[in-house]
């Protein structure tokens, strides 16, 4: 397979680790070292497992989720590679399906799965995706929310190596709500890439999460929220924690079109360096053409507060536990956006496990 990948010369890809992606794509497949049962959370709801991008019916009970060829295509350089069979959640007006779980296990080489989520008026869905194993997992997820529809999506990247690239393209209608929370707490490289358009009045869009990197790992998120209609709100709350010589990068952009008055945008990008040799890149961007808008934004990178660490240690916590507690608190803002308690706790536990190893 020859890949036509973006290069560092392109501004939107300057922090990307395409070398890690290529290495993952060229790796050999092997027997899986993790089973779907280990990755599903203990909550009721439809379950789908994909192994190397292929639907695994024996470990799935898809319920209302269809496994089918997804016709849509994308102009995105990675997203367009995800074509063919994937999964589809299409809900009728007022329908609700909660706690859909989708588990992706890779054993090597590359795999590409497209997905589509279409919620009709006032429909509600929540889903959790988990990535484990190795290789290059490439995904395109197209989301369309009609008036008043609500989607809560939680995605955790736990591959121990390889690369995960995610491309989200979402259209959020009038008074609809999209909340996507990502956690990068594995050993893989990653690119989380999102483009959210609010196409109805009063739409709410949120895309955020936490990227935790160690070793020489590189993870990044690049998100654009386009406010095309008035009275919309959006939040981009991202936390990056980098240890050793790793790099975590966050680029978040808010665009407010000329007639998108009374837009309320919040952008909070914060980085924490656990070692001086680590790197966090932050790129907050606002492009506002309307005059009656509120867009709060902040971007900071720092180290753990030495005074606070001493305070915790003086009460008996070991230096490692004090650092873990402080770091967990640092990422909590982003993960607390997850609505379902069991899911939120699972993500917090994943972050804690990462910290125990990294610190």
């Amino acid at each position: 397979m020859t890949l036509d990948l973006p290069t560092k010369r392109q501004e939107a890809w300057k922090w990307s680790d395409m070398a890690a992606l290529e290495a993952a794509a060229q790796s050999e497949r092997a027997a899986p070292d993790v089973a779907p049962a280990d990755l599903f959370l203990d909550i009721d709801g439809p379950r789908l497992a994909f192994v190397d991008g292929v639907f695994d019916p024996t470990h799935s009970r898809p319920g209302p989720v269809n496994v089918t060829a997804i016709g849509e295509s994308s102009g995105h350089p990675l997203g367009k590679l995800a074509a063919g069979e994937g999964w589809l959640v299409r809900l009728e007006k007022g329908a609700a399906v909660t706690s859909i779980q989708i588990v992706h296990i890779g054993t090597g080489a590359d795999n590409h799965v497209p997905a589509r989520i279409e919620l009709a008026e006032d429909a509600t869905a929540s889903l959790v995706e988990t990535y484990a194993g190795t290789g290059w997992a490439n995904r395109l997820t197209q989301i369309s929310l009609a008036r008043g529809a609500r989607l809560m999506r939680s995605v955790r990247l736990l591959q121990k190596s390889g690369f995960v690239s995610i491309r989200d393209e979402a259209d959020v209608g009038e008074a609809a709500s999209l909340v996507s929370v990502f956690l990068g707490a594995g050993g893989m490289g990653s690119r989380i890439d999102g483009e959210i358009r609010t196409s109805g009045i009063g739409a709410y869009a949120e895309m955020g999460g936490a990227l935790l990197t160690e070793g020489d790992q590189r993870q990044e998120a690049a998100v654009v929220v386009d406010h095309a209609m008035p009275e919309g709100s959006s939040r981009q709350i991202w936390r990056a924690v980098a240890a050793d010589t790793s790099t975590a990068s966050l680029a978040a952009r808010v665009e407010v079109k000329r007639h998108a008055q009374q837009t309320d945008g919040e952008q909070s990008l914060r980085g924490l360096l656990l070692d001086r040799t680590a790197q966090v890149n932050l790129k907050p961007e606002l492009e506002i053409f309307a005059d009656d808008v509120k867009c709060a934004h902040g971007a900071t990178v720092g180290e753990l507060d030495q005074r606070a660490l001493f305070y915790l240690e003086s009460r008996g916590l070991t230096p490692a536990r004090a650092r873990a507690l402080m770091t967990r608190a640092f990422v909590a803002d982003a993960l607390d956006r997850i609505g379902e308690e069991a899911v939120r706790e699972a993500f917090a536990a994943d972050a804690s496990r990462w910290l125990e190893v990294a610190l």
């Binding site: 305070y311 240690e313 003086s314 009460r315 008996g316 916590l317 070991t318 608190a329």
Partner: protein, 247 residues
Amino acid sequence: MLKIEKLHAAIDGKEILKGLDLEVKAGEVHAIMGPNGAGKSTLGYVLGGRPEYEVTGGSATFRGEDLLDMEAHERAAAGLFLGFQYPVEIPGISNVQFLREALNSQRKARGEAPLSGAEFLKLARAQADALGMDQEMLKRPVNVGFSGGEKKRNEMVQMGILDPKFAILDETDSGLDIDALKAVGEGINRIMRKPDKGVLLITHYQRLLDYVEPDVVHVLADGRIVKSGGPELAVELEREGYGTVAA
């Protein structure tokens, strides 16, 4: 219990403690008074083990062990408590979570069984009640949004929960109104006035000493103890000022 001999300590290359001698025996409360810049807070931090402070000479033993050889958390497990002049705000970590982990970490280091969540809450609530701190504040992030007085009460609640052998209280009386001062004073007496415990009160003013009567009062000036006496020394200092008494 605590024995300090010829202690020298510096921060950023500047010597602050210049040969300090002090001994506190079990069952005693000592007060250290002195003007700003005398080295009072430095003494607290050096004994607590704050890494930025460098010990350049002398020794400090705590219950027969070399205190200066221990890390901060080891000093805590050995029974030392440092009450902060400016307790630190820590967003995202609740008081209960922090204190339960701190207590169990100390217990583990001492080879004791950890307290369960229920056992811990019972203990924490009893201490909050005794100090007149709203129990809701136990659930809030550590010191975040607390007033000066609430932070100091929280220090005493922590001291009550951790039940140390020895407390070094750095200007625990500063920023307190009369009610809070009384509550804090009673807290110190209740938790620490015991034959097997000791207290070092670092203070600027005599007013806390109206509630917690010291056995010995020391005057610290320019990094050394320049005068020691009974409780009457504190009264004299308050009346005469440091300039006259320490001269």
